[in-house]
């Protein structure tokens, strides 16, 4: 899970909460800067044999910066953030949630938008969220999928089918035709997530 962004030394967490930016080394030797504060991030460590959800530390009720991870950086610079949250007020999965956020590109690029699902369903079905401009007929879709999923299929309302690559359990389809469904081959077979309209 979330293997492709490593610490320089392989496993050193960065943290750096409150810093103006956090530099993360990437697998190809490059680096990226992640904007600050509550989305300041620990570097991902490579752990095998652990479920995707289990790799995300449990946060406090609300948000804990230590529970956030950069899962992927999209080609347009949007960062896909994985967060595990704990909120007993949410009557799903005992309040344990896995969330995916799309963090827009740019200086101070927060806030973020996304979606959450109960942790006990995440490892089977992943989590998908849509980002919509009001009055627009286009939308982006962002998601986290279980381990072992290399790509997802995004079927648009127009009938167009896009194969979207998964990186570090995350995928991001930039704004485009409204989505009809997202599907992938999950651990227990085909998973189809209807857009819900």
């Amino acid at each position: 899970m979330l293997k492709k962004i490593h610490a320089v030394a392989g496993l050193v967490a960065v943290g750096a909460i409150g810093a103006a930016g956090v530099s993360l080394a990437t697998a190809d030797g490059g680096s990226q800067t992640v904007d600050r504060d509550a989305l300041a991030l620990a570097v991902l460590t490579e752990q095998k044999g652990t479920s995707a959800a289990a790799l995300l530390p449990r946060g406090r009720a609300g948000f804990d910066a230590d529970s956030a991870r950069v899962a992927s950086v999209a080609s347009d610079g949007t960062r896909v953030i994985a967060v595990r949250r704990s909120d007993p007020r949410v009557p799903l999965g005992n309040g344990e949630l896995v969330c995916v956020f799309a963090l827009p590109k740019g200086p101070g690029a927060v806030p973020a938008s996304g979606g959450c699902t109960a942790v006990d369903t995440f490892d089977e079905n992943g989590v998908v969220a849509y980002l919509v401009e009001e009055g627009s007929r286009s939308e982006a879709v962002v998601g986290l999928v279980p381990d072992g999923v290399d790509a997802v299929t995004v079927t648009s309302e127009s009938g167009a089918v896009d194969r979207v690559r998964v990186e570090n359990n995350a995928f991001w389809r930039p704004r485009g035709t409204p989505v009809d469904e997202v599907s992938f081959d999950g651990p227990s077979g085909l998973v189809t997530i209807d857009a819900g309209r």
Binding site: A38, G62, D87, C99, P111, V127, G196
Partner: protein, 139 residues
């Protein structure tokens, strides 16, 4: 008013406008932190994202997340911060609405001190007439 509100801190329940208190309307005013409880639109079919309904709660700038979740209807719902108490206006912070399908949670994150405005939940579905009841969580 429907159901109960939990963990409300300084929470005040009210109808959005006098005489507009309907069975499923809820208006919460927070002055500090968390507020959560069942919600439902004050009206149907107005100011639609894509033909749906919306709910509005005051959003305080100390909050970090706004969440909207359907618990009854498996349709898509969205969360967005709007400047106006009727859920209208351009999106605060330039952020797109976050929409989630099924029983999942649409959420937005604003690092404190974030912008103030109105947490607006939208039913982004042509299926809104089947009901739009869910749980709002502010932090």
């Amino acid at each position: 008013m429907q159901g109960q509100v939990t963990g409300v801190g300084n929470l005040t329940r009210c109808g959005l406008t006098l005489g507009m208190i309907v069975a499923f309307s809820l208006c919460a005013v927070t002055t500090a932190h968390a507020a959560s409880g069942p919600f439902c639109p004050p009206n149907s079919g107005s100011r639609a994202l894509n033909g749906g309904e919306r709910c509005i709660h005051v959003y305080h700038n100390s909050n970090a997340f706004i969440d909207y979740m359907n618990v009854l209807t498996p349709v898509r719902k969205c969360a967005i911060l709007k400047p106006n108490p009727d859920g209208s206006g351009g999106n605060v912070g330039g952020v797109t609405a976050a929409c989630a399908p099924r029983m999942e949670i649409a959420t937005q994150f604003y690092p404190p001190p974030g912008p103030s405005g109105y947490a607006t939940g939208l039913n982004d579905s042509s299926n809104y007439h089947t009901g739009f009841k869910g749980l709002l969580t502010l932090y």
